[in-house]
Each structure stands twice: as structure tokens, then as C-alpha cells.
């Protein structure tokens, strides 16, 4: 069999292909995004981006009811959005196997919270697998489809960032053949969830969980590994690797299915050890259930509850001390926070909002970096789509003067994800706030995925491009303007005027993301700073462009410099300089 190196996400895509998946739907979200980006390159699979996670799961449910194996993927917070269909899908069960991947992000490498989605498996009463490396990511994906069909249930597969984005050696398998063909088959008593139909199904769901619990104790993925130790560790997922790394002599009960727990296997294992640990990231999910079985274990009393585990953190928790290090850095170092790219179209908007002292209800995307100094122009950011509702809400309670300061800022992908509902409410309930839609025609933050507003689909084919202006007009917005955020003056003037309008208005700032290759943006020559003209006023530093560097040694008071390797020639800085110090390199 062929050996290769795959990330967890690539392995899940491969596993889905091998399992005979025919339909896949997702909304991008770190660390889940690469699963569909990989899957789309396999022949015979219809993989698509949905506008949000709820739609993705509903598309998946439809395909499953049509009789094919279906994969739906999202990041952890995406499951919050898809929770409504999930909880009732648990009752209806599936026709073709349906696997929902939740990619969690302990340590919040790229997220707004670090919720532990194992709780969803228990809450929605669906089984959940958790792989410990890429090989298991592939195998458990295949397995999850089989379990889904065998037990007539959706199955969740949980990864964490260190599984999704870590690579390890994988042996590939052969694709399954001979799966049933899709067809229309009616079964309303199972698929129409009116109370009369759903009530008996609740009993089915409870029995299914008990059956699975009993069954999984006897399956190969519930595995005891003996290393001759006196200590026992119950663990799963990435934590298993840390247990092996840090406690090489401990015996291990390695779980593959983290819900429902294989209670018989746990009881049998626990009986052998006086010292028993549960090693898991985030919530005491396994620990609480093991304790509820009357078994005494050590877990969150020593291991951290917040953040991801690392070999070092596990070691420190076990020994109560931090191993001494050979090297150290004894001086404070400047941080290197992330920043918007040189030439990012969002930059000018936040510069204007900063100048206007707007109260900005923000949203999630590259533009959330507008929070960082020197732009410092975002006051709230909770979840995708929230900016608009929050602007409506806060406007309700403010004085007229303060109300005029409220501006909601939202990206195109986020607007189409869950922002449009908020806008409908804004008009419907006569709010007066201002909404800025930052239309860079892409879902940039997660690595540039297409969306219904970009005019292309996941496969890269052209498709209908949502007309955002017309969409806003359709929900009743009367004042809609489209501007180019590279024109700082106009951007500031338009925002200022609309902030004072006592009615809902939408400003669409339109310019493609700098990194979108499709637009074939003409590459423009970089700028330079004329050292005879730079007066060290520092005005250009206020836009926080990574290409503009302050050189404290230049001139008498320091001077600005342009890093030619980084500058993309957008000329936004030129508009800021009152002394005409910026020039285009080619014009010299």
C-alpha cells in the first residue's frame, strides 16, 4: 500500500474518498478548511461551499436522505450555527451515512473561543470519534460512515488544530465499491419530525446510545496498551500522543470513540490501577463521566482546563515543576502581531473610522485586525454576523448624539453567512445605524475561499454572483453607496455623512483582496520616501502598512521608509502625506 505524508485534514478527505462519499458541503473555518479544498480534487464527489454551516449540514442531510454517503465539515463554532438541524437529525437518523467533522481549536490559534465540541456529541446524542494522528483521521473517517449506517445515526468526527494541521505518515487504503445507488425513497414517519413521529424516536435515540456504548467496548479502537506500568491513563485524540511522550511507562486505555464511552472497557481497565489519570484537553468530558461511574481518577485537578496541552504542560502538571532550560532570552522583545497585508483594501476604511471616532460593532474576518493599533477601530467582535444586530441593539439605548457614532462593519462572506438577517431586522424595526460591507469578493481570513458573492464555486467554475446592493435594497435599505476604499478622502466623507443620516444606510467598500490571484491585479511599482521631503510627521504610520518602516536613525528626527519588497503600490500612504514625500519608484 502506498505511504505518504498527510495532514489530518488531507487524511480526512482521503478517508471520505475511500469511504465512497458522493456529496460534501462546508463553510470554511480554521482549522477545518483544507478538508473540502482537498476533497474537491477527487473525481466523482460533489463538494461545495455553503453560505453558512447550517446550510451545509442541511445540504448534507438532503444528500444522505437521497441515499449517498455525505461529509459535512466546519470549525467548532460552526457547529453552533448548524446545531438546529443536528439535534433533530439525531432523531431522524440517516439513509446514506452522514459524518459531521468538527475541527476544534484549543489554544484559540485562530478562533474567538475554545469551546469543547465533545459536549455536542453528548448533547445531541450522536456518537463521536476522535483521531490521534493522520492515519487514524483517515481510518476513523471510513469507520464513521460504516457506524453511521449500521446504527442509523449521524456520526461526528472531532479533530483539534494539532490533528488537522499536523502531518504524519499515512498508508492509503482502497476506495470502497458497490455502495447502494441514490434514489427517491419516501419514509415520512421517519423523516417528518412532527411531535407524533419524533416522540417514539427519542426512545430510539436513547437505546442507540446504550447499544453503542456496549458495542464500542468490544471494538478494536478501544485499545489497552501495556508498558508494564503501575499507572493507568485513559486518553484519546492528541492527548494520547502526549501521554506516550511524557509517560512512556504508563499503561494506556486509548479511546477511539469519545462518545458514548465504552464503560465496560473503562471499568475493566480502571480495576488494575491505584493511580489512574484521565488526560484530555479542555473540558473534563471523559473525567466527569468516569467519576460518575464511581471510579476515582485524577484529571483537571492537575492538568490545565484552558488552552491546549503540550508535552511540557503535561510534564509540568505531573511533576509540579518546570524543567530548567539551557537557553534563555532575558530582554523584552517586540511582539510580532498579525497585520493586514500591504495594500489590503480594508485598511483605509479603518483609518477613516478611527479618524471619525466611530463606535464600531465589528465582525469576524481579516478586518478584525482593524482592532490592532495603530488603526484601533473596532469596539466589539462576538461571532459571525453579530455586528449588525449589535449595532441595532446598542443604538436602541443611546442618545441621539451617541447613536450617530455607531457603525457596523462586516465582510462580504460574513454578511452572506448570517449578516443579512440582522440587516432585515435593522430596517424592519426602524434602526438608524450605518452598516459597512467590506466587499473584497472573497472569504479571505480562512485562506481565500469563494462564496456566493465572489462569482465562483469551490471547483473554480464561474457561477451567479450575488448582487449585494440589490440584496440590501430588497430588505428595504434605501441608502446604498458603493465606494473604493483606496480613496481615503471619499471613504471618510461618505462614512461621516451616512453616520449622521437618521435612517439605515449601507456603504459597500469594494476592492478585491490583495492576495486573490484570479483578478490578476496588475502588479504596480513600489513607492519610496523622498528623504528631502519627509518631515518626520509620522502621518503615514497611522495606517499601519507593513511596508512602511520607521527608521529612527534617518534624518534628524527619524524618517519613514518604504520596504520595496513588501510594497504593492496601492498609494494609500501617498494620500496621507501632506509633504508629497512619497513617489513611485518607476517615476524617478
Amino acid at each position: 500500500m502506498k505511504k505518504t505524508v498527510l495532514s489530518g485534514n488531507e487524511a480526512i478527505a482521503r478517508g471520505a474518498f475511500e469511504a465512497g462519499v458522493k456529496v460534501a458541503a462546508a463553510y470554511p473555518g480554521t482549522p477545518s478548511t483544507e478538508i473540502l479544498e482537498n476533497l474537491v480534487s477527487y473525481q466523482g464527489i460533489d463538494a461545495s461551499w455553503s453560505p453558512n454551516e447550517k446550510v451545509a449540514l442541511e445540504v448534507g442531510i438532503g444528500a444522505s436522505f437521497g441515499g449517498v454517503r455525505t461529509l459535512v465539515t466546519m470549525k467548532h463554532v460552526g457547529v453552533n450555527v448548524a446545531a438546529d438541524p443536528l439535534f433533530t437529525l439525531s432523531y431522524t437518523g440517516v439513509r446514506g451515512g452522514l459524518v459531521l467533522v468538527t475541527a476544534d481549536d484549543p489554544e484559540l490559534h485562530s478562533s474567538q473561543n475554545e469551546q469543547d465540541n465533545r459536549n455536542y456529541a453528548k448533547f445531541a446524542k450522536v456518537p463521536m470519534f476522535e483521531p490521534a494522528d493522520s492515519q487514524e483521521a483517515l481510518e476513523f473517517t471510513r469507520l464513521a460512515f460504516a457506524v453511521s449506517e449500521q446504527f442509523d445515526t449521524p456520526v461526528m468526527l472531532r479533530t483539534t488544530t494539532r490533528i488537522s494541521h499536523s502531518k504524519s505518515v499515512v498508508t492509503l487504503g482502497e476506495p470502497l465499491t458497490g455502495l447502494p445507488e441514490p434514489s427517491l425513497s419516501r419514509n415520512p414517519a421517519k423523516l417528518v419530525m412532527l411531535p407524533g413521529n419524533a416522540r417514539p424516536l427519542h426512545h430510539t435515540v436513547e437505546k442507540r446510545i446504550t447499544d453503542l456504548e456496549e458495542w464500542s467496548s468490544r471494538q478494536p479502537w478501544t485499545r489497552v496498551e501495556e508498558y508494564g506500568g503501575k499507572i493507568g491513563v485513559i486518553t484519546a485524540g492528541i492527548s494520547y500522543q502526549y501521554a506516550r511522550e511524557v509517560m512512556p511507562d504508563a499503561d494506556i486505555l486509548k479511546l477511539g470513540m469519545v462518545y458514548p464511552l465504552p464503560k465496560a472497557a473503562i471499568r475493566a481497565f480502571a480495576a488494575n490501577y491505584e493511580t489512574l489519570y484521565v488526560l484530555e484537553e479542555l473540558d473534563p468530558f471523559i473525567e466527569e463521566q468516569v467519576r460518575a461511574m464511581g471510579i476515582n481518577v485524577q484529571g483537571k485537578d492537575i492538568f490545565p482546563l484552558c488552552g491546549e496541552l503540550t508535552p511540557g504542560r503535561v510534564h509540568d502538571a505531573l511533576t509540579g515543576e518546570h524543567a530548567p532550560l539551557a537557553h534563555s532570552v532575558d530582554e523584552p522583545l517586540p511582539n510580532r502581531p498579525p497585520n493586514m497585508c500591504p495594500g489590503c483594501p480594508h485598511r483605509g476604511v479603518f483609518y477613516a473610522l478611527n479618524r471619525l471616532k466611530a463606535y464600531v460593532t465589528g465582525d469576524i474576518g481579516c478586518y478584525t485586525l482593524g482592532f490592532m493599533p495603530p488603526l484601533s477601530a473596532m469596539d466589539t467582535c462576538v461571532c459571525m454576523g453579530a455586528s449588525i444586530g449589535m449595532a441595532t441593539g446598542i443604538s436602541k439605548v443611546l442618545t441621539e448624539e451617541d447613536r450617530a457614532k455607531v457603525v457596523a462593519v462586516i465582510g462580504d462572506s460574513t454578511f452572506l453567512h448570517t449578516g443579512i438577517n440582522g440587516l432585515m431586522d435593522m430596517v424592519y424595526n426602524r434602526s438608524t445605524a450605518t452598516v459597512i460591507i467590506l466587499d473584497n469578493s472573497i472569504t479571505a481570513m480562512t485562506g481565500r475561499q469563494d462564496n456566493p458573492g465572489s462569482g465562483f464555486n469551490l471547483a473554480g467554475d464561474g457561477t451567479y454572483q450575488v448582487n449585494i446592493e440589490a440584496l440590501c435594497a430588497a430588505v428595504g435599505v434605501k441608502h446604498i453607496q458603493v465606494i473604493d476604499p483606496y480613496h481615503l478622502e471619499q471613504t471618510k466623507d461618505v462614512i461621516q455623512a451616512e453616520m449622521h443620516r437618521p435612517e439605515v444606510s449601507v456603504i459597500i467598500t469594494r476592492r478585491p483582496c490583495m492576495l486573490v490571484k484570479r483578478d490578476n491585479l496588475e502588479s504596480k511599482p513600489p513607492l519610496f520616501v523622498d528623504s528631502d521631503k519627509c518631515t518626520a510627521c509620522r502621518a503615514c504610520l497611522k495606517i499601519g502598512c507593513p511596508a512602511i518602516e520607521w527608521n529612527p536613525e534617518a534624518g534628524t528626527k527619524g524618517q519613514a521608509q518604504v520596504n520595496e519588497l513588501l510594497c504593492v503600490g496601492c498609494k494609500v500612504c501617498m494620500e496621507l502625506c501632506k509633504f508629497d514625500a512619497f513617489g513611485v519608484v518607476d517615476d524617478e
Binding site: 505511504k3 505518504t4 505524508v5 480554521t30 482549522p31 478548511t33 483544507e34 490559534h109 485562530s110 494522528d133 488544530t161 494539532r162 494541521h165 499536523s166 502531518k167 504524519s168 505518515v169 500522543q241 502526549y242 506516550r244 511522550e245 503540550t310 508535552p311 511540557g312 510534564h315 524543567a323 530548567p324 532550560l325 539551557a326 537557553h327 534563555s328 532570552v329 530582554e331 522583545l333 517586540p334 511582539n335 510580532r336 502581531p337 498579525p338 497585520n339 493586514m340 497585508c341 481579516c366 485586525l369 490592532m372 493599533p373 495603530p374 481570513m445 480562512t446 485562506g447 509620522r538 504610520l541 499601519g544 507593513p546 512602511i548 518602516e549 520607521w550 529612527p552 527619524g558 520596504n563
Partner: protein
Amino acid sequence: MNDKVTNILLVGVGGQGTLLASEILTEVLMLAGYDVKKAEVHGMAQRGGSVVSHVRFGRKVHSAIIPEGEADILFGFELLETYRYLPLLGANGKVLANDLKIMPLPVATGKERYPAGLAEKISAQVPQSRIVNGLQLAIQAGNDRTVNTVLLGTLATLLDIDLDLWRQAIKKLVPEKFCVVNLKAFETGLTVGF
């Protein structure tokens, strides 16, 4: 093969192509028959922030993250980032770093200063360190965009792996039209040596 796991920590700045370099390294190690794992983070961290990639190989690797203070080689693409991650290096560790400064935002906006003398500070703490001017060597090799491959060439002299596997991995992972220049850059890095 003994049970020793070798740890290489790659550090740099988002946008520098660190991730492709770790990709090539991982491929080489797999081709050489090792169990290999690589851990890194995508998303927010890549927007010009500091980027870290852990690569571990041996007969059997468990954690993909290198335990603190156990890196055998700290492979830095930028000076400040190399210095920042020095505490992760083991007592007998080696440093291979690119002699390049990229201003982080607080420095670029004049709020803070880029620390002085980093190359010297690194060499003072780590006897086995080598700081090379990747850009100059890349230009010498014929293309200023092949800095990372030059550095990989120098890294190759620290690892006991058939050089043809490196060339094979570069051919596989670098887009075809840049293959020849990158192979040349790799040879340049080799001749520089550690």
C-alpha cells in the same frame, strides 16, 4: 535506527514561505524511511505574524510538538524570530539562521526598536550556530526568491540523508517552472555548509 527522535524547529514570519520549507523537509524525511511528524498553525497566525513549524523524526514519533528545550536544530528564517525561540533549543542544540531582519509592526510604527546585535547574541549563547546571508546567496545562485531553498541546502549538511532525496522532494513540491532555479539554490546552500 535507534530510538532517538530528532527535533527541528523552523521559525519565521508569515509570508516568508516557511511552511513550504517545512513541507520539503518533511517529505525528505519520509523518503528517508523515518517516522516523521510536523505541526504548524494556519489562519490568523499567518498574516505577517510569527510562524513556527515543528518537525520531528525518528523510528517512532509521538507528539508532533517538540517538547520545550528539546529542539536539536533551530532553523530560523529571520533573526528576531530565531532569537525569540532560543529557549526551545536543547543544551547541545544548533542554530542555523538567515541573516535577515523583518520589522514587526510595533517597530515599523516607531513604538519599539528592533533589538540590536541579535546575530552576536545568538552566537554567544549557542556555540554551534551559523548565520548565513540567504538573500545574497540566492542572488548568487541566480534568483532572489530561492532564499529558503539555499537555507535548506545548508540544513542538509547537518543531516545524514542522501542528497538525492532532497532533490527529489524539491522536484515534487516546488512548482515546475521554478524547479531548476531551486535545485541550483539548493546546491549553493550545500557548498556554503554549516
